[in-house]
Symmetry: none
Subunit: 205 residues, 4 copies
DNA sequence: GATGAATGAGCTTTCATTCAT
DNA sequence: CATGAATGAAAGCTCATTCAT
């Protein structure tokens, strides 16, 4: 399944905001600016200017700035989890599943949702504690999917190191690609996924 | 050589500020607070309170807030580079050298300089562009050391993937440990280093 | 005559808005909220919410917020004056008339119109100057009725102090009951009226 | 004892702010403006302009606008209570004491503290609930002095009505003078006090 | 009539920075 | 060197009012 297809479903379910609605355009601009300049250096006036409205109008859609950050984060983490579930269900072997873990994350980081994903990772401390808890719930669900999968790989001898430790190391390696990988460079996203998979799995084919 | 020994040398050379001087205490507090709350959410008053002076007095030591952030970053990046140089010189085999790359970075992230290292990584966008350039120079020197070393490992067949790509993946994996590795947990820093090394090098123990 | 009877007449005459009409319900809610929270701390949205419409719709009934405050004030001051006229006409002796002055005011402050009466007294400065003038006219008519009556009482030797001064003192004493008198407490409104009358008239039972 | 003498003592004790200090000048201006335009229609910019500083500087002296209102109120209620205590101690007969109750209040309403006294009375709802409690404590102390005194007058047959009710009626009559009494008019403040005393006490001189 | 998104001026508050003492 | 009051620009947010639907 393609990400686009899933997003349409999530929009229909109300879990993700339609990017063509005023609120959705605001979230998109927020993701872009928060990533570019950081949350606290982005003013609501910047945000408003980006979507062509006035600063006061923002507060028709969000109660405060924190809620915008929350919106960006919760929607992308939701989409990541849902997409991962669907993709894992489509994979047959454990090896394929591990590949799915990696590719799914790379897809969200370097696809259209890249800004939101980067914000989710790098603006964590800027979110109010109460809302951190809500995002955390979702993120834990997502991590659980990783853990189950890597545990299975460990049981089958595909990997030898502690699955929990490996998850964190891989996650770090993938997340960091935000800073250097260029989608339109020499290496395709698939090749990058393969490199990471190689790092994850000892021996092979 | 221990980090402490090196730092004393760098202090003597004026490349790093004596942490017992007023300016040094300020930098230490800045590193801690910038990491904890983020640069823009840390006020100059917070900083002053942390070291027991009043906000106005800070500007006897630094021209502005940006210069404080710069101070934190430039000193840690300098120390990381210098320490890496020394440690690499002490290593004999290429394998050992790769290990040194990893351990050196882990040491800076989880040792006494951890706060500054985290700030270097996560507050990059907060630094003014002109000073970013200055830090970048140093960081490029540091990366060059990694590249040379990994290139050699590649030439010797220790690693098979593109050294540049591997460097970034490893760097990401190591940097991310900031978020999950606990120095006083079950796993020692050395064991962690070994895990990363295993991930880096195909084949043997 | 009862207040209710008079109000029906005033509604028929168009001097007071029917409290069951949308506009009337708005005025009632405004009186309540303006008294409770004060005019400037009551938002047009609060008002709309109270009567179950949306904020924009308010401006079909009133040109602006100031006009709502004016509506509350002018209607209650009108009713107070009209009611006082009727009641004075029904009184025979001067003593009875003074009693009517007092009771009429107490009735408006502690009856159904209490909120509006309190707003009239305590939100004076919030009203635009131009509209203050209009309310002032009515209020002066009302005061004239007091003055005439107290002057008569003075001429008859019922009171000895300056009628104008006495009017203000009594008015103050009555208005302040807003803050402490409880209609469902031990003292009936009539007993309260008697206490005030005693204060007003020297001498006899 | 004169009010000025008492205020000097209270300033020395730190219970009242020196009106010549920056903070004191701010409180004076706040009392004036809050009375004139109402608390919520007075902006901190108005306040700053009134004392010739910039709006930001206000927050060196007060944490927020609410604290300014609190400052105005708590200082005047404190002074009223302290002044009343001293004056009551100087009075010999009960009749004199009742006169002191009245005169003290008139003095605060029409003297230099008049603005603050008016704010205390008319901006009550604008104060945050937590701080209302603190002012309430002081005000209750003040009312207790009234009650004790009027109770004594009742025991001695000077007054016949319920002391508690009388206190409220008198208080209302006095407070309302804010709206009509002019210190530079025909009637002196002493004459006004006498009128109120006459209203309070049956029988006479 | 009612809606509700948008407006835009204006609010309180924050904060890096300055400077006379 | 340290102080701390003052600065002033800019922040997040509020809210009466408008208007196309």
């Amino acid at each position: 399944m393609r990400v686009g297809t899933l997003l349409r479903r999530l929009i229909a379910e109300g879990q993700v905001t339609d990017p063509d609605s005023p609120k959705g355009r605001l979230l998109g601009a927020a993701a872009r600016l928060f990533r570019q300049k950081g949350y606290s250096r982005t003013t609501v006036r910047d945000l408003a200017a980006e979507v062509g409205i006035l600063s006061g109008s923002i507060f028709h859609h969000f109660a405060n700035k924190d809620e915008i950050l929350f919106g960006v984060m919760i929607e992308v983490v939701t989409a990541m989890e849902e997409m991962l579930k669907v993709s894992l269900a489509e994979a047959t072997t454990t090896r394929e599943k591990v590949r799915v873990l990696i590719d799914n994350e790379l897809l969200f980081i370097h696809g259209k949702t890249g800004d939101a994903a980067a914000v989710l990772i790098y603006e964590w401390r800027a979110l109010s504690e109460e809302r951190q808890r809500q995002v955390l719930e979702r993120r834990d669900n997502y991590y659980r999917l990783w853990n189950e999968c890597l545990q299975q790989a460990h049981d089958e001898g595909l990997i030898t190191v502690d699955p929990d430790c490996l998850r964190q190391l891989l996650h770090g390696a993938i997340v960091w690609t935000v800073h250097w990988y260029e989608a339109d460079g020499e290496m395709s996203l698939e090749q990058l996924g393969e490199q990471v998979l190689n790092m994850a799995l000892k021996g092979e084919p």
